[in-house]
């Protein structure tokens, strides 16, 4: 089973990328990706929360009554999100000032509860951790990528470093631009998939389960 951990992680990054393949949690993906920095911060927060939630749900999977599993998962997610928020407030003030509002919203991200329900509640701790980590990395990568494209075209900079003198196309940092970029990147992902992998999902080896 050892090799399958790599498979599980890669699965989240490419073949079941939360944003480009599963099309989950698109709302935050549009809202926060106005720059590389914002996308990165949000991605890291989600990565941590997701890995911890998957581990916890997996440990408790036999103790939680199926009738109340959804409220139980929400409580677990809310606890980790609150911890993340309190930590940011104390140790990362500037990031908190920019992201504070969105950090609280992680509680309702579809991708997190869907992984808890579809994967962690049915699998052992380590595979669940790998799944959460992979999905988190996939989400992080997607947010950074979308953020980079929007920041470059919208503000003419990458991660705060100016490349062009003025802002080329301001609409790209507005929500409209978010939809454009995500749609086009999703298309690109699908095209690569069809062209090089015969339409079968699976970049680094994955496939549906």
């Amino acid at each position: 089973m050892a090799a399958s951990y790599k498979k599980l992680i890669l699965n989240g990054i490419f073949s079941e990328n939360p944003v480009f393949r599963l099309a989950l949690s698109l709302c935050p993906a549009v809202a926060v990706t106005t720059s590389v920095r914002n996308g990165f911060l949000m991605g890291v927060a989600v990565l941590c929360v997701m890995t911890m939630v998957n581990i916890t749900v997996s440990i408790l999977r036999n103790l939680i009554n199926p009738k109340v599993r959804i409220p139980a998962y929400i409580l677990i997610i809310a606890t980790y999100v609150s911890i993340t928020e309190m930590m940011m407030r104390a140790y990362s003030r500037t990031a908190y000032k920019q992201m504070g509002l969105y950090i609280q919203l992680i509680v309702v991200f579809a991708i997190i509860i869907s992984r808890a329900e579809l994967f962690a509640s049915r699998n052992k701790v380590l595979p669940s951790a790998a799944d959460g980590f992979g999905m988190g990395l996939g989400f992080l990568g997607a947010l950074v990528l979308v953020g980079a494209v929007r920041e470059l075209i919208g503000k003419g900079s990458i991660a705060g470093f100016h490349i062009t003198a003025s802002s080329p196309l301001l609409i790209m940092v507005l929500p409209t631009g978010g939809f454009f970029v995500i749609g086009l990147l999703m298309g690109l992902f699908n095209w690569i998939d069809q062209r090089y992998y015969g339409g079968r999902p699976g970049g680094g080896g994955g496939g549906h389960h």
Partner: protein, 190 residues
């Protein structure tokens, strides 16, 4: 569902809530002092930036600001003379209370303002922390603390898309100056 099930389900949720509560209390107890200390540090830095010539900035008195929140008047002195006042005040914005610092000289002319915290519409509200908006207040007296849509040299130009927030900040600055005036009328030593 029988009664045994109901008890089981209840216990399940109670247990999760209890554990979550304990964990959150511990994290709060550890992080809150750090947060408060960092906040105080930010306040000192912001005050220093507003009135750089001040040698001493001391808390003079507290007053009630918008929403019943606690406003503070700080006195800035240099060589034993008062060079200005810094007022920490709140203003009711579009979706939050905006916390800000207003620095004025002894003639109630605005030296500058600083936004400490806000939770206004993301992307638009943040514009109020930009230099161009804050710099508009410099040198203004109360008569010119009026928000205008469109360009203005004499008054305060609203942030497009965030008129309510712009108005809130401006009215907040005005209220802060009024509070200082009222307190000074009561206490000449201030």
């Amino acid at each position: 569902m029988n009664s045994k099930d109901i008890i089981k389900i209840t216990l399940n949720l109670v247990a999760i809530c209890a554990v979550a509560g304990v964990i959150l209390s511990v994290v709060w107890a550890v992080t809150n002092p750090v947060r408060l200390e960092k906040k105080a540090e930010e306040l000192r830095a912001a005050q220093k930036a507003l009135v750089p010539q001040a040698q001493n900035i001391t808390e003079a008195l507290k007053f009630v600001s918008a929403g019943g929140k606690e406003g503070v008047i700080y006195k800035a002195t240099a060589d034993g003379k008062t060079v200005g006042y810094i007022i920490k005040a709140y203003a009711k914005g579009y979706s939050s209370f905006i916390e800000m610092l207003v620095a004025v000289d002894i003639d109630y002319r605005i030296i500058g303002i600083q936004i400490l915290s806000e939770q206004e519409t993301p992307g638009l509200g943040a514009e109020m922390e930009k230099k161009w908006f804050k710099d508009q207040f410099r040198g203004k007296t109360e008569d010119h603390l009026i928000v205008m849509k469109g360009e203005t040299k004499t008054d305060i130009q609203a942030i497009s898309g965030a008129t309510i927030s712009s108005r809130a900040v401006t009215n907040g600055v005005k209220a802060a100056v009024d509070a200082l005036r009222a307190e000074r009328a009561k206490d000449r030593a201030l």
